[in-house]
Amino acid sequence: MTTALDITRVVQTRTRSADRRRNVTLALLVALLLVFALALYLGDYPVPVEGVIRSLLSPFTGLTDRGVDFIVLQVRLPRAILAVLSGASFALAGIIFQTLLRNPLASPDIIGIAHGASASAVFCIIILGWSGTAVSFGAFGGAVITALAIYLLAWRNGVTAYRVVLIGIGMAAMLAAVISYLFTRARLTEVQQAMAWLVGSLNASRPGDSIVLGGALLVLIPAMIALLRGLDAMELGDDTARSLGAKVEFTRLGLMLVAVGFAAFATAAVGPVGFVAFVSGPLARTMLNGAGRGFPQAALVGALVMLASDLIAQHLLPNTQLPVGVVTGAFGALFLLWLLMASGRSGRVN
């Protein structure tokens, strides 16, 4: 029978894709674990490997060493966890927008949402004189309001990807002007504080940041998974999606809300760390090479990029802790050049 043979061919292709997805995921997980271990080990205060392990197990074994435990459990571990959570959040926000808008440039740090968070945070710091958690709340509100404004301005009997990208880029430029204006009115110390926030950093992270962000992810990730099925159809264009029975507007609005949530909570926690949202999705897809949409893999790439960048930022220069955004910015710029060169060769940006 030919039919039996035919099905094998289809099954083979699907299995090959599934294998590749699994291998990429495993490789990324291993890499993430290694860098995570490194993040717990490296630091100004030398802790031997056994010390790190003992410290990690101390809640179970009861073998404590107050000094080492403080360094490992109170300083390095929360920072590494925050890097992982925020990196994954930025990555998911990025890949959702990039997929929905069918444009690798359409990540929230390009289409104005990060700028909304930044302008709001700078306003809170300079005009309202806020600091700490209050600024995070301000940034969160700014991101949400900006996303809403972009969506409403782009609305015309539905939302097209093209309009969202153009209006988002316009919005980004406008908000950048607002930030510049606020700087001209500020005192030097305020500018310094605002600049530190704008670059994005884990240096000032508090343990509570991870709890808030982790809680948000517990809601956002299931919501995203629930909506992802519709994306199977929507990737083929709106008409095809509707004819396949997908609820296009509902899925798009839902996924945009989830993506804004990812971006806003992550930005509130660590500041608008540049380029993580932008690079993670395309990097994950390159690794998968057609074997899937790459959402989980992008989250792992994001976590890895953030954690590795923070390690570099902490230890690149002796006696100076760079903000993580400086490293991701440099990394992102290289990636952007690579993307432009690659797309130049194939003659398209998409």
Partner: protein, 270 residues
């Protein structure tokens, strides 16, 4: 399959915003036949197809699927009866043929019913009918235009619907691939009793393959019926604004339109 679902439009007005494209159109699609919609550019044939496929909400009138207004039916339910291949579908980057065709199984899947051997069978069957099985593991963006078009048709076939609507599936194809696609659609009608509706540009191919031809002009139907009965020189003049001679297609005995044009008018015998 071959449940012979019925699709009809009654008093249909369709448009985009203020611009009305199709007005007061009535059409019943004959079940188990190949219907071809023809007409000059911008006559509203694609708009009509989108209306019939519930992709465009009518401003007046309605489309009925088995007697029920299609725009009020659950879209998922419609998707198991009626498949559509729009004019310019988008293939995600680097997607494989199998994955793309598998997306046609979307309406048959749900929260708890994910991929099953039945889906594999449907995909394999769709690939086989479109003669694309050997492309199963290739990325879609590496295919030729003709291969890609067949893969998209396979995607619509994998949906396993009784009704199939295709918007200009032969655009950008060489003549041999055009014939191939139309042969395939004829097979679908003849062997599995599906109802197929297709918008076509080539009038001669339309006359050859259509069981039922619908000629449109300015958003209304000028004539419909069997090509041999309804396609006349006068109709061609009305619909396309072009003088022509109609001869019998030596291969299929269907009407064959020979356009005249300004430079050849004198050569014609009176």
């Amino acid at each position: 399959m071959s449940a012979n679902h019925q699709l009809l439009a009654a008093g249909l007005d369709l448009g985009y915003g203020e611009r009305q494209i199709v007005s007061a159109l009535d059409l019943t699609l004959p079940a188990g036949q190949l219907t071809v919609i023809v007409g000059a550019n911008a006559c509203g044939k694609s708009t009509l197809l989108r209306g019939l496929a519930r992709l465009l909400t009518p401003t007046r009138g309605a489309v009925y699927l088995d007697g029920k207004p299609i725009h009020q039916m659950p879209t998922r339910e419609v998707a198991t009866i009626l498949g559509v291949l729009p004019q310019s579908p988008i293939a995600p980057d680097a997607i494989t043929v199998t994955d793309l065709v598998g997306r046609g199984r979307y309406p048959h899947q749900g929260w708890f019913r994910r991929w099953t051997p039945e889906d594999d069978a449907a995909v394999a069957q769709a690939l086989q009918s479109t003669d694309t099985l050997e492309l199963a593991d290739r990325p879609v963006d590496e295919l030729s235009g003709g291969q890609r078009q067949r893969v998209w048709i396979a995607m619509a076939l994998a949906q396993e619907t009784d009704l199939l609507l295709l918007d200009e599936p032969t655009t950008f194809l060489d003549i041999n691939h055009q014939v191939e696609v139309l042969d395939l659609l004829t097979d679908l009608v003849k062997t599995s009793g599906r109802t197929v509706v297709v918008v076509l540009h080539d009038l001669n191919l339309a006359c050859r393959y259509a069981d039922h031809i619908v000629a449109m002009k300015a958003g209304t139907i000028v004539t419909e019926g069997r090509p041999v009965e309804v396609i006349t020189e006068q109709i061609v003049k009305d619909v396309f604004g072009m003088t022509s001679r109609i001869v019998v297609d030596p291969v299929s005995d269907t009407p064959m339109i020979v356009p005249i044009g300004r430079h050849h008018v004198e050569k014609l015998p009176a």
